[in-house]
């Protein structure tokens, strides 16, 4: 039954006696047409688009824990499409357009809130760089607005404009950017995929890939072997470990990124702000907590927790940007594991193993890409050809020299 205002009233009047689980607790079948490893945002989005737009397949999503328990529930929920390079901008703009229609597509309230993303600049050189980026965005059909100091002051009068070590000179504003309730993204995609017959199998960890004569035939799991014609891997954070089961080494290091939330406050921060002089970004959740983060810790890690120097660095960034943040107490902090690639851009491609497909390397920007990643990966799985917007995300681009290095840092994953 579709969710609607009528259903809310009906469920309330019947004291929720007729409420059903949003998706089935599916049991693994002996074989499928397509298996997607990883029941996070990207895996579930892939299943949804594969079932709804390409159709006619028996699809399973295998998740080692519970769906939405990984990075889709551990990020800072920001969506935007303010990229510079040709390989990236059309992809992220498609993602933002999909976010805009997501709730109608899924019949699920994901609380998509286009409250605006503002990147601050603090010097003439940085203004010029943002002007270049803004023009690139406009040319690809996204929206961008360069604000001067007074423009920023009108939006956010409480920022530290004058006395900071890095005075605020202005900012690049994308009004269509914003935030989304991240758990609802996982749940919404899961429910929509399940309604189209996708089996979402939780507590089912893949322990091996079955490969015969260079072709995938299925996977081994903690709940027994499952056959498949095609297997898509969407396990960002652990891509290296899963691909190692196929004997493949990846251009990826796994790093830990921390995120933080303050105690609940009355509405103080209407949009998303990023600090241009350090690495700090902040927004306010609908529950009232300030959600913020900064740099990755910078060393290989599979532990979902980080160290204190980054906590201090992030809080210093917050204090330099908006001193009033010092009055709020930090409530929680946590870490998530990121696939950091050698050029800071993702991979959506076939692999040397026939029938095995890879979606990974999202660095710490995977959440905003969720819908486009799902659609592009579904397109690849269904047609064996890359989606138009994801042609640049090739696995072999490091060999051929077609890196997409948005930050220009070179092959050093912890600098992207």
């Amino acid at each position: 039954m579709d969710y609607s205002g009528f259903k809310v009233i009906y469920d309330a009047l019947t004291k929720y006696r007729f409420v059903k689980p949003a998706w089935r607790d599916a049991q693994p079948q002996p074989d499928y047409d397509t298996i997607i490893i990883g029941g996070g945002g990207h895996g579930l989005a892939t299943a949804h688009y594969l079932a709804s737009r390409y159709g006619g397949q028996r699809i399973a999503v295998l998740e080692k824990g519970w769906i939405g328990g990984g990075n889709v529930g551990r990020n800072t929920t920001i969506i935007r499409s303010n990229y510079l390079l040709d390989g990236n901008q059309p992809f992220y703009e498609m993602s933002l357009k999909l976010w805009e229609g997501l709730e109608q597509d899924l019949n699920y309230n994901a609380m998509v809130s286009q409250r605006g993303v503002l990147n601050l600049y603090h010097s003439d050189a940085q203004r010029d760089a943002y002007r270049l980026r803004g023009n690139a965005m406009l040319m690809h059909g996204a929206d961008a607005e360069l604000l001067d100091r007074d423009g920023v002051r009108r939006l956010y009068p409480f920022l530290d404009f004058d006395t900071a070590r890095f005075p605020i000179k202005g900012g690049l504003l994308q009004r269509r950017g914003g935030t989304v309730r991240h758990d609802a993204v996982a749940w919404g995609y899961a429910r929509a995929a399940d309604r189209r017959g996708v089996d979402i199998i939780q507590n089912c960890e893949v322990t091996g890939l079955r490969i015969e004569a260079g072709r995938i035939t299925g996977v081994d799991t903690t709940r027994g072997p499952i056959g498949a014609r095609k297997v898509g891997v969407a396990v960002a954070g652990h891509t290296s470990r899963v691909m190692a089961m196929a004997g493949l080494r990846m251009p990826i290091e796994s790093h830990v990124l921390q995120a933080f939330v303050s105690e609940g406050l009355k509405p103080v921060l209407p949009g998303v702000i990023t600090f241009g002089a350090g690495h700090f970004y902040v927004s306010q959740s609908d529950k009232g907590g300030l959600v913020f983060g900064g740099d990755i810790d910078g060393y290989n890690s599979y532990a979902q927790r980080g160290n204190l120097p980054v906590v201090e660095d992030v809080c210093e960034g917050g204090m330099a940007l908006m001193p009033m943040i010092g009055r709020a107490r930090m409530l929680r902090m946590w870490g998530g594991i990121m696939d950091m690639t050698m050029d800071g851009s993702p991979i959506i491609d076939r692999t040397p193993v026939e029938g095995l497909y890879l979606n990974g390397g999202w660095c710490y920007g995977g959440f905003k890409a969720t819908p486009a990643s799902g659609l592009a990966f579904a397109h690849l799985l269904a047609t064996d050809a890359p989606h138009d917007t994801a042609r640049a995300y090739r696995l072999d681009r490091f060999r051929t020299g077609h890196m997409i290095d948005e930050k220009g840092m070179g092959a050093q994953p912890n600098l992207h």
Binding site: R241, E253, Y299, N300, S301, Y302, M342, R399
Partner: protein, 95 residues
């Protein structure tokens, strides 16, 4: 995270800069057959294990030595530390 420096004792990890997998000590021979592929693998591909990992840390805010630290990437426990100089010399003597 504290790193037990072989010469200086326990030091805060923030004194160090992280480079990555210690396999980059083994630079391929640029004149050998198939050097292009070898350098691609050397520069871009990593084992990225969950568990013990040998990695290079540079004591930038200290004595500016390079260390080979064996660290568990799942627990952040540091299992062993050598001076990178000693590792490279041992390799050179062994070769």
């Amino acid at each position: 995270m504290m790193i037990p420096h072989p010469l200086l004792g326990l030091r805060d990890a923030r004194e160090f800069t992280y480079l990555g997998d210690a396999a980059v000590i083994d630079r391929p021979d640029g004149m050998a057959e198939g050097a292009g592929d070898a350098f691609h693998d050397y520069l871009y591909l990593r084992d990225n294990p969950a568990g013990p990992h040998r990695e290079l840390w540079y004591h930038e805010q200290g004595d500016r030595s390079w260390l080979v630290v064996t660290r568990d990437t799942v627990t952040h426990e540091i299992l062993h530390v050598d001076l990178a100089r000693d590792v490279a010399l041992a390799r050179w003597r062994g070769a």
